[in-house]
């Protein structure tokens, strides 16, 4: 991360904590706008809680929650007016920092031969509001991918450098959640500019706000708040403990890096391949999946060409296409690649797991394949790399 010096989210040793009443919450939006931020956050759409531009506090999914399980997602009314009382939806924040589809450059055939015209980057700063702990971890993981190496991805870097991260502590966990197993939540620990904890008590609705950066402090300067926050830390901890106890899934991650690489020929890969539709939903929903492909197009005159980049998935057949064939032709090999990468080879590449336990891949899999269950099945019957012999 040393290279990413432009990141604003430096956590000071002494974290300042303030409180903001629900009635003063719109002032946060005003302060963000006044500071030139576009506000991106949760809102109702597509029958789910999705991430989109917010034009006011009223766009937040006030009083709504979600119910999730394998291949299941339903919106549900809450009995209160919580703004952030849901888990995570089908969208991940990566859609703003690593856009699903964008033009990288244009090319003109000219007298001189060829002009490559770099695409103008957006100059608008984003404030991402409502980033859960698992999601914040996912952003830090993608930082490693796009900014942590020898080269920096210019698109990601441009969008990330000015992004203001307003995290929210999870107040409830869903049936597909397992961030505790992945050491990615439920409490937001670091990497944020502001971190909100929504507190709903009898006759009280307010936010505890942890200030994580100078920029965050600057935003809060224009928001009415109270410094009377005795017991706030305790309250946050209590909420986190409560949420942690609600985790719907568990993954045993002990020695998982070797477990998957040593069980390359496990019969469970055939089993999961018989269920997997290779639809790529898991990779699209996953907040850390970063694969992309490019498409080159020309206009009808043939003088103008463009290169577009869009999300790709290791579940597609063409992903490993070479002139002499596909490296991973079978569904088995593609599922194995995805899961092994996510939980094992990611450590080799970036020093962390590629999974944050958000559960999206379980919820949004049309046939309810459950990554935690697949890990358990492999762990339960280890073959040491040899095909498991079938029992009589």
């Amino acid at each position: 991360m040393e290279k990413n010096e432009t990141r604003p989210c430096t956590l000071s040793a002494e974290k300042e904590i303030v409180a903001v009443a629900r009635k003063d919450f719109p002032a946060l939006f005003d302060s963000l706008w006044a500071n030139g931020f576009r506000i991106l956050g949760p809102t109702l759409g597509e029958g789910a809680i999705v991430y989109d531009e917010l034009h006011g506090v009223d766009d937040l999914p006030s009083g709504w929650t979600d119910e999730q399980d394998g291949a299941t997602y339903r919106l549900k009314k809450r009995s209160d007016e919580a703004l952030f009382g849901y888990n995570v939806g089908p969208h991940a924040w990566k859609k703003f920092l690593f856009p699903p589809k964008l033009r990288l450059w244009r090319a003109e055939a000219s007298n001189n031969g060829l002009n490559i015209i770099e695409e103008k980057q957006t100059e608008q700063k984003f404030a991402l509001i409502g980033v859960k702990a698992c999601e914040l971890k996912a952003i830090l993981i993608q930082d490693q991918v796009f900014l942590g190496g020898e080269y920096a991805d210019p698109i990601y870097q441009n969008r990330r450098k000015d992004a203001l991260l307003i995290a929210v502590n999870c107040t409830q966990a869903g049936k597909t959640c397992f961030c505790v197993s992945m050491n990615a939540g439920p409490r937001v620990e670091s990497g944020f500019d502001l971190c909100l904890t929504e507190v709903l008590a009898e006759d009280a609705h307010y936010f505890i706000v942890e200030i994580g950066s100078e920029q965050g402090a600057g935003i809060m300067a224009n928001v009415p708040h109270s410094n009377q926050t005795q017991g706030a830390e305790k309250a946050i901890q209590a909420i986190a403990t409560n949420t942690a106890q609600q985790m719907g899934r568990v993954m045993d991650t002990e020695n998982i890096q070797a477990l998957l690489q040593d069980n390359f020929e496990h019969s469970r890969w055939d089993d999961v391949a018989s269920r997997c539709l290779t639809c790529a939903n898991c990779t699209m929903a996953c907040p850390t999946c970063f694969c992309s492909t490019v498409e080159d197009v020309t206009d009808i005159t043939g003088d103008h060409a463009e290169r577009w980049r869009q999300w790709d998935s290791c579940f597609t057949m063409d992903f490993t296409y070479m002139n002499h064939g596909h490296a991973r032709a079978s569904a088995k090999s593609r599922y194995r690649q995805w899961m092994t990468h996510k939980l094992s080879t990611w450590f080799d590449q970036f020093g962390t797991s590629g999974c944050v336990g958000c559960g999206r891949c379980i919820t949004w899999c049309p046939v309810a394949i459950d990554i935690t269950e697949e890990v358990s099945a492999i762990r339960a019957n280890q073959t040491g790399g040899k095909p498991a012999s079938s029992s009589l």
């Binding site: 060829l114 080269y151 970063f290 694969c291 490993t320 002499h324 090999s333 080879t345």
Partner: protein, 291 residues
Amino acid sequence: MYTVFENRQGTAVPESLPNPLLPVPYRVLQNKRNTHDVFTLDVEPVNGGNFPHFLPGQFNMLYFFGKGDAAISISGDPTTEQPFRHTIRRAGVVTQALEKLKPGGVLGIRGPFGVPWPVKEAEGQDVLLVAGGIGLAPLRPAMYTLLANRDNYRKISLFHGARTPEDLLYVTELEQWRSRLDLQVWVSVDAATRNWMGDVGVVTKLIAKASFDPLNVVALICGPEIMMRFTIQELEKIQIKSDKIFLSMERNMKCAVGFCGHCQYGPHFLCKEGPVFRYDQVQSLLGKREV
């Protein structure tokens, strides 16, 4: 895990390319046919800029207008000033288009990328270069480097295998190298008619016949994956250690800088940790299917 590279020459990062996703225009100086499906493009920067420095074994992404990119290893001489040279086999849409480029034609280039052959580390030792088919193209810059610093190496042996005599690359150069007294050059084809007076048989068979010190040799291999596996088997028979064997791998590449994910091979990104790997880095993967 990757400390192996600390002692090796670092990847050359072209300072003229702040955005690694953006091609730079190059003009074709010459398009020379090598075999029925292989050709060599010499190019220079359109805007008269300097040639980025490259190291033997590195590759460029060649862009043909509107068609896309192809990853092509650089096959010219890194020790002298000369145009960027790429020997290309016609295979897909992009290479078919590149094949038709004439002098004056323009293409885009991103690069150079990738980890090079360990030519510096091989100093003081015998060197084997084993090239199958088009695999001679990425090894040629290594050969130039070895020859430019001939006194720094002991015995140098080049093995080149091809399908037929008509498929041999760089025949004139092979002849020149073969005539040198300080090189062993072995050429073999899989099948030939009587016009061919050279060796017939798999290239791996020749390795046992060459003279080198198995305890003090570095082997550089580039060719189809099957051929590389068989070559490694031969080298292992004569007790060459896995950390003395280097091979250049191939996978689908798109971005070439580790962002797009396509070229992953087990834990490795071929574009930035390869294409040249020390055998013991990929040993456990080579025998596996659909990695």
